[in-house]
Symmetry: C2
Subunit: 614 residues, 2 copies
Amino acid sequence: MSIRFDPDGGRPREVRVPAGATLFDAASWNGIAVDSTCGGHGTCKKCRMRVVEGDVPVSRLDPRAFSPDELRAGWRLACRARAGQDLRVEVPPLVTRPKAATVGVGRQVILRPAVQKRCVTLPEPTLSDQRTDVERLRDALPDLELRVDLPAIRGLARALRSGDDTGDHPVTAVVVDDVLVDVEPGDTTGRLFGIAFDLGTTTVVATLLDLATGTPVAVASLLNPQQPYGADVITRISATMMDPDALGRLTALAHDGLDQLVGEVCADGGVDRREVYEIALAGNATMVHLALGLSPEPLGVAPFVMASRSFDDLVAADLGVVVHPRARAYVFPALGAYVGGDIVAGALASGMDRDRRIRLFVDIGTNCEILLAAGDRLLATAAPAGPAFEGAAIRCGMRAAPGAVEGVKISDEDVLLQVIGDVAPVGLAGSGLVDAVAAMVAAGLVDASGRLIAPDAPSVPPGLAARLRQVGQERVFVLAFLDDEPTDDPTRWLYLSQRDIRELQFAKAAIATGWMLLLEEQGLTAADVAQVLLAGSFGSYLSPTSAVRIGLVPDVALLRIVSAGNVAGEGAKMALLSLRERAAAQALLEEVHYVELSDRADFNDRFVERLTFP
Amino acid sequence: MSIRFDPDGGRPREVRVPAGATLFDAASWNGIAVDSTCGGHGTCKKCRMRVVEGDVPVSRLDPRAFSPDELRAGWRLACRARAGQDLRVEVPPLVTRPKAATVGVGRQVILRPAVQKRCVTLPEPTLSDQRTDVERLRDALPDLELRVDLPAIRGLARALRSGDDTGDHPVTAVVVDDVLVDVEPGDTTGRLFGIAFDLGTTTVVATLLDLATGTPVAVASLLNPQQPYGADVITRISATMMDPDALGRLTALAHDGLDQLVGEVCADGGVDRREVYEIALAGNATMVHLALGLSPEPLGVAPFVMASRSFDDLVAADLGVVVHPRARAYVFPALGAYVGGDIVAGALASGMDRDRRIRLFVDIGTNCEILLAAGDRLLATAAPAGPAFEGAAIRCGMRAAPGAVEGVKISDEDVLLQVIGDVAPVGLAGSGLVDAVAAMVAAGLVDASGRLIAPDAPSVPPGLAARLRQVGQERVFVLAFLDDEPTDDPTRWLYLSQRDIRELQFAKAAIATGWMLLLEEQGLTAADVAQVLLAGSFGSYLSPTSAVRIGLVPDVALLRIVSAGNVAGEGAKMALLSLRERAAAQALLEEVHYVELSDRADFNDRFVERLTFP
């Protein structure tokens, strides 16, 4: 159907939508501002529009929002008006000035949390007004169509009779979407909180948000308490396959970790746990399955099948956190077993759904998730990069922690190391590994095939020859002598071995094959890429120059390579602050086409091509 | 809006409905048969209709049910098609031959339970088919739009991987409305049960129903275990006001009683508790509040306010019964604090919503509920009859149990008693009380004002004079000498005292005032009443002749006075068997106008008029 929107004072916009789409969605999808505080749930009655050409039938809710004259004049609630023919629609100016918060990659999020609080004073019943407690509340909130269940009825009865028997009894209704979750005595509208979780395999972060203002109140993080069961998802999945009790324990550990963070942020922010009415969580598919007590076994073996992409109707208790007993939980849906909700959250925070340039989103880790946005198309895949970037499988490798080398520069004379915490170097972090190899390629110490050259090769700068050594039968390059002076004792060297370079080659080739295949799928080449977003903490430290030099990312202008930071956590915050952002995440899920690499006949050919250095 | 339905092979019908009503509702309200197995929930896609004049926009579901050509030809799903203008609609012939069961007062109920089971065999996932468990199930049930929550996902994952690893895995989806509540391994479609409860103040009855066939499988009953807290609702409410622990104990007693009956009917019917997927319950407002753990205190004091009329989204566990852990509970909504869900259920089973003649529905008890149906109007009230009909406050009164006199005939010579169990008389049941007084009025032993005449009055038949005695200062009439021969020992008499007759007068006057005021409210008189339905077990024993004679019911032809039996329990069964009947109960609730007697200035005048015998 074709709809022409005439916004008051704005320029007309003609859009095409499928039959049956609501005017609210049609406007929202196309960036036309619509008044609404309920996010299109039919409760706020603010999304008024006037159909001036074509016809939209009167919905059940319309007579509550409009007079018969207005209905005849074409006024309809946009969220209930479905397009069944071509229409022309007038959009009135915004009445409510929406509050907004800035989160994600400079994303302005208009506050529209699922939770709202409304304070009302109910009249005392009399013999001529025998309305039930629930009816009196409903009548006091005529703009909401509340679903009221048993615990809410209990809370309402208690709140109404909690004060003394004289005078008015103000009570505050707590509403999530259209469900009345509680009724609190007095006016508590100023206290409305939510917690956003980034449940990473390594680190768990919680942010307490004031949902009335969008302000972060407190942040806390801890190492994922599941670490004893393995550093990565595969070892944790294996644990559940070998030990029937492991699933229960891993679930309990996840719950403990999340709940500990709840305690910390609530204490820090001066917020009672019962004032937290919703939580949002982004995590990869394995972390989410474990946290929800679902066996991750099918994720660990081909054909890599999830129990579900999305989880509806969750409560906070399903994730083991003690907040308001009726608090709901929003968990980001996943695209695939290896492109999880954390990536969807990251894509949301990075605006992959809105910025329609050709963009690559790369989250580097043991499993590397890659998204390609190209116009209206979104492609996703996962590349098995292995643990090289996390310091594992690298002889002198270590996590990004104090003492880890995160940057390496090599001149003809010397090697300059940048060390986390400005202390003596202890090991090599992932970003240091990439820098080191890139610098060695540039210095001619490593050839295009990845082979460390011999110390006596003519191209070796004289100042560096002494660093080309052997450990056992293997050629190595010494990045630093730990005692500040060259020794012959390899245990006092910080070095990169031929095998380490091979590990890096395998890892970067897997990733590069991933984005190459996505680009090919769209008929694009690396030169077409307008922006590369590097997500996750590793992405923040990686040198764009080095990443390009080793072929980890496409060879584009350096300014086009952007570190996006912890976008999964930002996405979780956005979901908590706005139902529209959740709808956008859901839309992402439906738009993205997932490309399974392990199924492709051309994967190995492409992989081998990508092993070399450009 | 005006809608003209053209049923295939039937006569056209022109109906008027409010704007926004669905074609499904419009047809159902007007008795036009529509194919549907989901009861209008948009899941079965069977309610196909063709709009041939006027326009109805394409709904979100229509493209799943119809081809583009069909959509252009006007085909729509009736349950999603809202009338926004005058329409002409073709209704195709019924495809599915609906199953039906006979319940209630000869009511034919078309089986459409909220619960359905569907057996599907899901294909094994492969690398080219990585659909999640949930997606595979959804795709196998394309006619349902399932809501799938965490426990269902857990059940699905388990059921899919429960068998050996070779061959197909048939699983059975259990769906309540549109919610997937469980997935069972194998084909369990033949096992589908529900339990209907009649939670009376005195007696609790449970009926186990096979929801696939509508057959009752087992019935059990017990005395309400709350009896120690009082025989009637007022004493139980008082108990909660005096003792803060009483509410919790009364709730626990209700739960224990209901769950004990579940155990009995399941054992009796050879049904596992987990095969019971839904329960329905009818009870008065106090019983329902107590069973749900809600304080009944506001019901016991003016202005008699309920916490809520209706209770949505209840699960069986809320009523303390252990059946399938996700089983839902339907509790009949109440009209008022003293016209509860039991009366709504009874009205449903009696067809008060459909039979449009002028009918009175009278449920006699300590609290007497009265409904008047007159054309499109439904009026309700409650009359405080007191406990006379239950044998309390009557000197020789007793419950209807073996030994209780349930019928009395008085000739000039003798008194003939009908005794429950054909044993020697022990006391007087409510129906015996009514019979006795009616017979005494007819025999001239009691005058119109209710006074027992003197033994030496000229009108006393000689054969009965010896029965007019004194107990203390009070005149009495001896119905039976318990030792079979006249003695002077009052403890060996079964008698009716002057005070007993006064109790009965008060009780019947309260009831008669109730129906009189309802008739007056509608501008009707007793002569207009086409039928009097006597509900409840007391109604089954009451002699219509005697009830008319004392003025308890309107003076209509005896054939028009019908004992309706335990209609509350029948209503609960109907609700369990059919979503449409639930919708009808809800509609009743919205149609009925409640008349509060204690608020009326003319109540006392009318009451005094009604004290005398006609």
